[in-house]
Symmetry: C2
Subunit: 216 residues, 2 copies
Amino acid sequence: MKVGIVGGTGEIGEGMALRLSQRHEVFIGSRERDKAQTCSLSCRTLLGSLELPCRVQGCDNQEAVDSAEIVILAVPFPHAANTISTLKGFGGKIVVSPINPIQRAEYFFHAPPPEGSAGLMVKRLLPADARLCVAFNNIAANRWRDLEKPLRYSVAVCGDDPTAKERVMELAGSVPELEAFDAGPLAVSPMVESLTPLLLNIGKYSRMKDVGVRFL
Amino acid sequence: MKVGIVGGTGEIGEGMALRLSQRHEVFIGSRERDKAQTCSLSCRTLLGSLELPCRVQGCDNQEAVDSAEIVILAVPFPHAANTISTLKGFGGKIVVSPINPIQRAEYFFHAPPPEGSAGLMVKRLLPADARLCVAFNNIAANRWRDLEKPLRYSVAVCGDDPTAKERVMELAGSVPELEAFDAGPLAVSPMVESLTPLLLNIGKYSRMKDVGVRFL
């Protein structure tokens, strides 16, 4: 598949590029094309040194959208709405929101926008024919990047377009050990997103790093 | 430990009694003492036939509270407030809420009371010196009851009393394969509870039964 990662030079975007470019053609997008190209080069260098295949290129965010069949919005929640507003061409595309609106007091908590979740907000901001799924919310950036360890985790995928959801589950399932689960319609996204602050709390209070989840 | 299960003849209570009575002294409570005694007898018979140890007795809900060090409120959310209002003697006790306020439309969702979670509502209804933890929310009744399979799951425990939380984690950890995790203060309970409808949705849309969770 051709996968575009908007915000692909951020921690989570970079980690996803490292995993996905071994099996797919990845377009790392950034507001700054230079940064994306540097990131793409280090991705290629790292995977090359491990003798792993790699198909990746750096570009600006708009090119990442335009080049891809599946566009992953790997942007922090506070920048999500603004980033989407600067881009076009989402019509007909499969779009993935791994975005978690989280705040931290003594503990971490889900702090969704008025729509009820980041996913539902993104839905409102995209053209009506964009095919949005919420997925990849519950895996820490460090785990994506730690290529020495398989991603032995589960991915909950929700969305209202069945064939888009199937493609996203296929994408998730293409990463060794990663298991995709259909979690239902986009309306389930508040529950998918609020699992992430729970994992962060378990990490904090049980003194673990980068806690992930398996459904079984 | 001495463990009282209020609502111990319900599906989840019965399953918990089957697992916990192998290692602890369990008081199955019910509004109807006869029902609790019948349930206690079948628990003893089943575990006896498997040559497993069993310490269990049936009593009314009030006796279950009075006899126990740890009281588990194994009641469905719609009956929780009413059940608590008929009981006394919670002061100083460790109380566990595994209660999930869930509603079902096309999909399952967390439908908490105004307090924000069942756990926070229970907190308000109990005397101030009751030592409440939220735990055991994410394991299906059928899994508790299926003694042929180990409970290879995780339990998120949250609460504001550190020593109570420690005891509840110890209780959870005493069940073979079950792993307890400190998830933080009681304020985290909305996230612990809303994991359950997510698991139900994954079960429904991924066609799986009694989906559980591991944190790792």
